[in-house]
Amino acid sequence: MKTGQRRNHFVWLLIAALAFNMGCNEDDEQTMDPTLYTRLGGIEAISAVTDKFLTNVASDGAINARFEAAVANPSRLQVLRNNLIDQICAGSGGPCQYKGKSMVEAHTGMNITTAEFTALVGDLVAALDFYDVPEKEKNDLLAVLGPMQSDIVGK
C-alpha cells in the first residue's frame, strides 16, 4: 500500500516537473524573439545613433535653421536629446518612458513641410547607416517613427 502511494507521488512529481519544464520552454521561445530595442543594441546604441542624428541634422542645410539654436544651448540640447532617445527607446519596445509633448502639440505652429520631414528622415537613415544598423532593424525603426509624419507635417 505504502509503495503504491509512493509511486503515485512520484508520478505526480514527474508530471509537475514536466509541466514546469514545458512552461520554461515557452518562456525560452519568447526570449528568443527579442524586441527591436534589444536588436538595435539597447540604450547605448540608441544614444550613439541619436547623437549622430543630431549632428547630421545640425549640418543639414535643408533643416538646420529649425534646430541650430536648440542644439547650441546645452540645456535645450539635453532635453531634445533625452526626448529623442526616450522616444526611440519606448517605440522600439525598450524600458523607457517618453516624457515630452505629443508630436502634434510640439509641432503645431511650425508649418513643417514634407520636404523638411523627408530631410529629417534622411538624416536619421544616414545615422543608422553610419553605425551599420542592419536593413531589417532600420526598416522596423522607420516603421515605428513613420506614422508620426501626419502629426508633424503641416501643423
Partner: protein, 134 residues
C-alpha cells in the same frame, strides 16, 4: 519683521519641496546618461567626400566624442562630446590634426528653432542641479 519671517518660511518650504521633487521624480533611461554638449567649427582646406567620412569616423572614435558630422560642403563640423572629458580647444586641435585643416570655433544661432523652449529646459536644468542622484 513677521512678514519677512513668513516669507522666508514659505520660500524655504518651496525650496524644500523642489529639492524633494527633484530627488524623487522618475528618471528616464536617457536622463540617467552622461550630459553632452555640442560644438561647431569652421573648416578651411581641401577635403574630398571620402576624406569627410573618414574624418567623421576618426573623430567619432575618440573617447569623449559621441558624434561628429560635416556639412555637404565640408566647411563646417558639428561635434557632440562629454564636457567633463573634453573642451572646445581640445576639439579644435583634434580636428586640425585628424583632418589636416585650418579649424576655428563657430558661433551658433541662439534663438528660435525647434520646440524645446528655453524656460522649460532651464527649469529641467535647475531640477538636475538639485538632484543628488546625478
Amino acid at each position: 519683521m513677521k512678514i519677512i519671517k513668513i516669507l522666508a518660511l514659505v520660500l524655504a518650504a518651496g525650496l524644500a519641496g523642489l529639492i524633494s521633487y527633484a530627488n524623487v521624480r522618475h528618471l528616464s533611461l536617457a536622463e540617467k546618461l552622461k550630459r553632452v554638449n555640442l560644438a561647431s567649427f569652421n573648416l578651411k582646406g581641401e577635403i574630398s567626400t571620402t576624406e569627410m567620412l573618414q574624418l567623421e569616423k576618426k573623430m567619432s572614435a575618440i573617447p569623449g566624442i559621441t558624434a561628429c558630422s560635416l556639412n555637404k560642403e565640408g566647411n563646417v563640423a558639428f561635434i557632440i562630446f562629454y564636457p567633463e572629458q573634453l573642451n572646445e580647444d581640445m576639439l579644435t586641435n583634434m580636428l586640425s590634426s585628424e583632418g589636416k585643416l585650418n579649424v576655428s570655433p563657430r558661433e551658433l544661432s541662439t534663438s528660435g528653432g525647434c520646440p524645446i523652449h528655453q524656460l522649460g529646459s532651464s527649469f529641467h536644468e535647475f531640477l538636475t542641479v538639485l538632484d543628488i542622484r546625478n
